[in-house]
């Protein structure tokens, strides 16, 4: 469903007759809604198996994500690229607007891994002073 929305959005903003400036890649989800924690470890590792080669191949300048957990393997892969001296990737994580007073699990993980951690409610900025607060994005 998201893929269709992306395609129609990009189609609307690309100038006529010019080639598309975007590409879509898919990775397995790290965790399904209500999935157990223990099995999530395995599914996340499974997702890493796909995420790292993808990030290695793309060598992005920026990873922009907002959770859910599916973004964690991508961000870890981006970090690894930096650690291995291959490329410094800027990681920007935007916490979901649903998170008013507490961080999501992805947020708690990415808070320590990201270069910029953006929150959308003042209560979170108070709890996490190192985060970036720019008001509500939506």
């Amino acid at each position: 469903m998201s893929a269709k929305k992306i395609e129609s959005f990009e189609h609307a903003r690309t100038k006529r007759d010019s080639p598309p400036e975007h590409c879509l890649h898919r990775i397995p989800r790290s965790r399904e809604v209500r999935q157990s924690w223990l099995s999530s470890v395995f599914t996340t590792l499974h997702s890493m198996w796909f995420s790292f080669p993808l990030v290695y191949h793309l060598k992005p300048d920026l990873v922009l994500c907002n959770g859910p957990g599916t973004c964690v393997p991508i961000c870890v892969s981006a970090l690894l690229l930096g650690i291995l001296g291959i490329k410094k990737v800027i990681i920007v994580y935007v916490e979901s607007i649903c998170r008013v007073e507490t961080l999501s699990l992805s947020g708690k993980i990415l808070f320590h891994l990201s270069d910029y951690f953006i929150v959308q409610w003042p209560a979170l900025k108070e709890k996490y002073p190192k985060s970036v607060y720019l008001g509500r994005i939506v």
């Binding site: 920026l62 507490t102 720019l134």
Partner: protein, 165 residues
């Protein structure tokens, strides 16, 4: 034609669907002047049958590419607490009742509904308290939802990647 639109987003919320088509809820909606109920049920397993009578119409579907039209035509939106559904409804200026799914882990959706309710933009409840809320709520007390400011975010991002000083 006064219509209510129920949306559960991309997942499922069988309890809400069942609650809304239960006799007492339908009676309350009718007594409030609604003669059309549109149900977007996602991948739920409770699938009420659409019907149309002289006094009342029930439309049921799983997904549409865009809920824009159904939201536009609705006089009341009853939604699960998903951010997308809530914000889309509020951005269209629709009176919104959010039903929180107590079965979801940590119930993080509740935080957003609570905050937006605190700011006066919506009412919230659970499935069991929905009929009571429908009966007692005063939609005229709801406040308009001011739009977000994505331009601040894009300016920030431009600086981060060096496209702007």
């Amino acid at each position: 034609m006064k219509s209510a639109f129920v949306t559960v987003g991309t997942t499922s919320f069988d309890e809400l669907v069942a609650c809304v088509v239960a006799n007492d809820s339908l009676q309350i909606l009718k007594s409030l002047g609604y003669n059309r109920l549109v149900l977007q049920i996602g991948r739920g397993t409770v699938v009420p049958e659409s019907f149309s009578s002289d006094s009342f119409t029930l439309d049921v579907y799983r997904y549409k590419d865009s809920l824009k039209e159904d939201l536009q035509q609705a006089d009341l939106v009853i939604s699960h607490a998903g951010a997308g559904s809530c914000l889309e409804s509020l951005e269209k200026g629709k009176p919104l009742v959010v039903v929180v799914n107590e079965k979801l882990m940590n119930n993080h959706q509740f935080e957003l509904a609570k905050q937006l309710h605190k700011e006066g933009h919506l009412f919230y409840c659970t499935c069991s308290t929905l009929p009571g809320l429908l009966q007692s709520m005063d939609l005229s007390t709801l406040k308009c939802y001011p739009p977000g400011q994505p331009e601040k975010f894009s300016a920030f991002l431009d600086k981060v990647v060096g496209l702007q000083k």
